[in-house]
């Protein structure tokens, strides 16, 4: 299991979702991906994408300027 980071700052949805989706295709089951975003829309869109595609959201952190969503790749 390894941990990765994806920069999706200044992208508006659905681009952060598309970038996450494409990055996850390169990762192994169980890997962790931290997606760094500025569009608050990711707080609903990335979890929705994860639910329908079998991935898990481990949490998110919002520092006021940036939101980091942590995804664990599912099987």
């Amino acid at each position: 299991m390894s941990e990765h980071e994806l920069d999706a700052r200044r992208m508006l949805c659905p681009m952060p979702v598309i970038k996450t989706q494409n990055k996850v295709k390169e990762l192994a089951v169980g890997d962790i991906l931290n997606v760094i975003c500025t569009d608050p829309g990711v707080l609903s869109d990335i979890p929705a994408w994860a639910r329908i595609n079998g991935h898990k959201i481990l949490g998110h952190h919002d520092n006021g300027d940036e939101i980091t969503v942590t995804v664990q790749v599912g099987g």
């Binding site: 508006l12 949805c13 659905p14 989706q21 707080l43 609903s44």
Partner: protein, 350 residues
């Protein structure tokens, strides 16, 4: 034992594609969704930027629809490829800069390509939520066969909501699906779809009045044409088409345009462009951040500052202090009188 057949469905996030998939699921078809992002999709952008939209529920309707249907959704970035559709539409534009028929052909063609590139997944046919007569350009009786033919989908393109008004497709002829369990919807009325939605228990579906594309919007199309005219080329980048959705656009001279934020949310969004573009801010009074798109000369700074000051709280002051930020240079400080309403020429508004 019967073979389970599989389809890929074009999901816009609207009601029609939602229903079309559910009709096929009722017939035992396994469905996955595909959604193409052109850059002009109305999903969420202005909600994410503007203050007055902050309270609206932020959701991507295609993802929401997929979740309601219990299907996977593949979102595909087609921004680069879509440029050719927009710039060279074989079938022309609709009322604005919307190349709807070419767009539909393109998207169904991409679904055909998806099936070919993912043979291991065993997709047998394509589903769309098209309804004859629903859209004036792309969804007409005459254009339905054009979409099927020019996309390359031919007889594997199924429109469950109006299938009974169209020739039988391969999935029907092969007995994979039952034609009698599909529908004969036509025209612009939404009542049959709403009744079907009620039957299936869908209540919270999206219903964008002008479709799901900014290109059907006159104001947006006007700004796009203005951009192309000013640059003398129809090339565009992602940032260009995003910025057309933000702010008040005023062009005092052919060489440059001012994008004036309309609220704090838009000012915050434009902040992200400060390292690339000239920006202007009134500092003696509250006022919006303004971005300059194009080639502004130093002799035009006073004009630009006067316009920007017109849209801040110092609009009636005798003098306001304005800072002009040119990337890589020292801040230019100006004390100017804001332009009056009459001095901001009506023709400057894009």
């Amino acid at each position: 034992m019967t073979t389970k057949h599989k389809a890929i469905a074009l999901i816009s996030g609207g009601l029609d594609s939602l229903l079309a998939v559910r009709v096929m699921q009722e017939q035992g078809i396994e469905v996955e969704g595909i959604n193409f992002y052109t850059g002009f999709c109305v999903e969420g952008h202005t909600h994410a930027i503007r203050n007055h939209d902050k309270d609206k529920q932020k959701r991507n309707n295609a993802l929401w629809a997929a979740e309601q249907l219990g299907i996977k959704l593949h979102i595909v970035d087609v921004i680069e490829e879509y440029k050719d559709v927009l710039l060279n539409p074989k079938h022309g534009y609709g009322a604005n800069m919307n190349p709807c028929l070419d767009c539909k052909i393109f998207m169904v063609g991409k679904a055909v390509q998806w099936i070919q590139e993912n043979r291991k997944d065993g997709f047998d046919f394509i589903i769309t939520g098209e309804v004859i007569g629903q859209r004036p350009m792309s969804q007409r009786k005459q254009t339905m066969p054009i979409v099927a033919k020019e996309s390359g989908a031919e007889d594997i393109l199924v429109r469950p909501l109006c299938a009974k008004n169209l020739p039988a497709t391969k999935p029907e002829l092969e007995g994979w699906i039952d034609r009698e369990k599909m529908y004969d919807f036509s025209g612009r009325t939404r009542k049959p779809q709403m009744a079907l939605a009620a039957k299936y228990g869908f209540t919270d579906y999206a219903s964008p009045a002008g479709g799901c594309c900014f290109l059907t919007d006159k104001n947006y199309s006007d700004k796009l044409v203005d951009l192309w005219d000013a640059r003398g080329t129809r090339e565009y980048e992602m940032d260009d088409i995003m910025l057309l959705k933000v702010g008040r656009h005023i062009r005092p001279k052919p060489e440059f345009k001012l994008i004036i934020a309309r609220d704090a949310g838009e000012s915050k969004y434009l902040e992200g462009y400060r390292k690339q573009f000239v920006t202007i801010q009134v500092v003696s009074h509250n006022g919006p951040l303004t971005m300059v798109d194009g080639d502004i000369k130093p002799e035009d700074f006073e004009l630009a500052a006067g316009v920007v000051a017109r849209y801040g709280q110092g609009r009636d002051a005798e003098q306001v202090e304005v800072h002009i930020f040119v990337p890589g240079e020292d801040i230019k400080i100006m004390n100017i009188k804001p332009l009056s309403v009459d001095q901001v020429n009506e023709d400057w508004h894009v």
